[in-house]
Symmetry: C2
Subunit: 345 residues, 2 copies
């Protein structure tokens, strides 16, 4: 058992969201409270959550439960589901932030539903047309490169990409402490003039932007190589970049495993390298990066991977808490969440 | 020294194309002739090529030279350069195919220039609006998954994607011997209705196509995981998928190298696994797949990676020869190349 939680607002966790909820979400929350001293509000079906908490040695100081009887399934139409299900766990979790009773929301559920709930309940930041998901890409030095948008808006207009560049600049300044984050535009070549219509028009807007340190067009390999701090694109291309990298990493791992287990000699020798292989897996593990902030809404929202296990949930809760504090301390463009009027209930 | 070349048309190699031309292109050609018995026509500045051939023990039976004094640089505007430079190596190489004096073209040069030269000199196949580059993606079982288009057309209309599906089906049937190649549509989710406007409209066209075994939407991780034989998309997203996978693979390799050389113990143990690591590198090496066919033009054109070394060039020449033979034997929709009228000179 580590430090007790400090007296601060809890992180609201959508305990029903994700392929492995609620077992792994509850376990991740318990670890966040116990090992990191972060208070967590578990939002979901209390009847299901309570026995899981008890099985892990709860109740715990710093871990609270809030009943939300409805859920949004992965295959549901996100916007319709969120409009209809006012008592869904993700909607209730966002309401807690809006009411000033929670500092941030974490969810591994249907990401469309997270985006919709955040927009409906928390609202957009002023001047922001479309919020975007900023996925942290692993790089070799352990500093992630943020890709925005990774799936919230598949057919944006060029000003949306400019908005992403401003949002992620703001985020990297305030949360990561970078003075002049380098922002690239995802393209199919580095030369100006490259790209589809969206990329060409966005290039012009970004080049003229005063408050963005625009480094020009970048190809998708830059994400892993770390030549930019963030890369902006539409949600379609962002998803392609993300999934293609995931596929390549999985392929590399499976071929490595196959070739290192072909003979008893290799198997035995490879066993001696287990700690090194574990370090490799860890430095490339998306879970270590703690999920993707949804930028452009009035409140801190972290979208965790749908397959998140307890460890990934804990890391996302830690990331959520870290993302919250500097934003409120340094005074961003974001309105204080408790100034936002409550939604009709 | 292996078998002598059989009496067949040579593969025309753009000897000046690629970051490492002409040294590596010449070496690759010499190996193709010597080790694979494939006749090669080296097209480029003969004054530069001849000493390189001689340094490798030439002249050789099966290796011919054809002078083409001009070149297209990587940064040149491809279409303009090809229109202006009638004696550029890539243009002359395509002319040899058109005139029936060569079986196929291989180039590691400016891929825009290869596409432009192929369209201008060889022409499009009938019914094909836009040719596409079909990049073979490595998968774990060694059978590539073809991604088309990987950069020829960044803003296609939906019928272009349908054309790609038909072209790559044809190619996989005739060159790879697959009876019903599985064709996926690159998208940001698997459910019908997902995607940007292009993807949604293309989904409808592909679903209605009689001669395409359409397996629906696929996310980009499918490329490495091998659940489709080919995936169609626009050239912008195709480039993103390709470069993102390249970046992820490079990252994995660099982290692996770093972690396996942290201590003397690990370094020594890892040295015992060198053959296994070499097998891993080889099964993921783009060079083994022999370059990307340009589909939809009247003739066989293989685009090799810009960074191709001699080995990659040899593999591309082998792939070119293999791509040619079955197409002519089985009688595809492609017109025989010598029926095409010569271009005005």
């Amino acid at each position: 058992m580590a430090a007790m939680p400090v007296a601060t607002l809890p992180v609201a966790l959508d305990a029903m969201g994700g392929d492995r909820a609620p077992r792994e979400t509850v376990a991740g929350a318990v670890a966040a409270v116990r090992d990191h001293g972060i208070p967590v509000l578990l939002v979901g079906r209390v009847g299901e959550l309570e026995p899981l908490v008890r099985a892990l040695g709860g109740p715990l100081p710093g871990l609270a439960l809030l009943d939300a009887p409805e859920t949004v399934a992965m295959e549901e139409h996100a916007v319709a589901a969120v409009r209809r299900k006012r008592r869904a766990s993700i909607v209730v979790a966002c309401q807690e932030v809006r009411e000033g009773r929670a500092a941030a929301v974490v969810s591994a559920g249907n990401s469309g539903a997270v985006v919709a709930a955040a927009i409906f309940v928390l609202g957009r930041r002023s001047g922001i047309e479309r919020p975007g998901i900023a996925i942290p890409f692993p790089t070799s030095d352990g500093t992630p490169c943020y890709l925005i948008d990774a799936g919230a808006v598949v057919d944006p207009r060029p000003p949306v990409l400019l908005g992403y560049a401003e949002l992620v600049t703001d985020y990297l300044r305030q949360v990561r402490g970078l003075a002049r984050p380098r922002i690239g535009l995802l393209n199919n070549g580095e030369e100006p003039g490259k790209g589809n219509a969206l990329a060409r028009e966005s290039f012009a807007l970004l080049s003229a932007a005063q408050d963005v340190n625009f480094i020009g067009n970048v190809e998708a390999n830059v994400l892993a190589l770390g030549a930019a701090d963030a890369v902006v694109t539409d949600g379609f291309s962002g998803n392609v970049a993300l999934k293609s990298a995931e596929g390549a990493a999985a392929l590399f791992q499976s071929v490595l495993r196959r070739e290192l287990t072909r003979s008893w000699h290799d198997k035995l020798v490879a066993a001696l390298l287990r700690p090194a292989f574990r370090r490799v897996a860890r430095s490339l593990d998306y879970r270590e990066y703690g999920g993707a902030p949804l930028l452009g809404v009035r409140g801190t929202v972290i979208i965790a991977h749908g397959r998140s296990d307890a460890h990934a949930i804990t890391r996302a809760i830690v990331a959520a808490q870290r993302s919250v504090v500097p934003i409120e301390v340094t005074g961003s463009k974001k309105e204080p969440v408790d100034d936002v009027p409550p939604a009709p209930s």
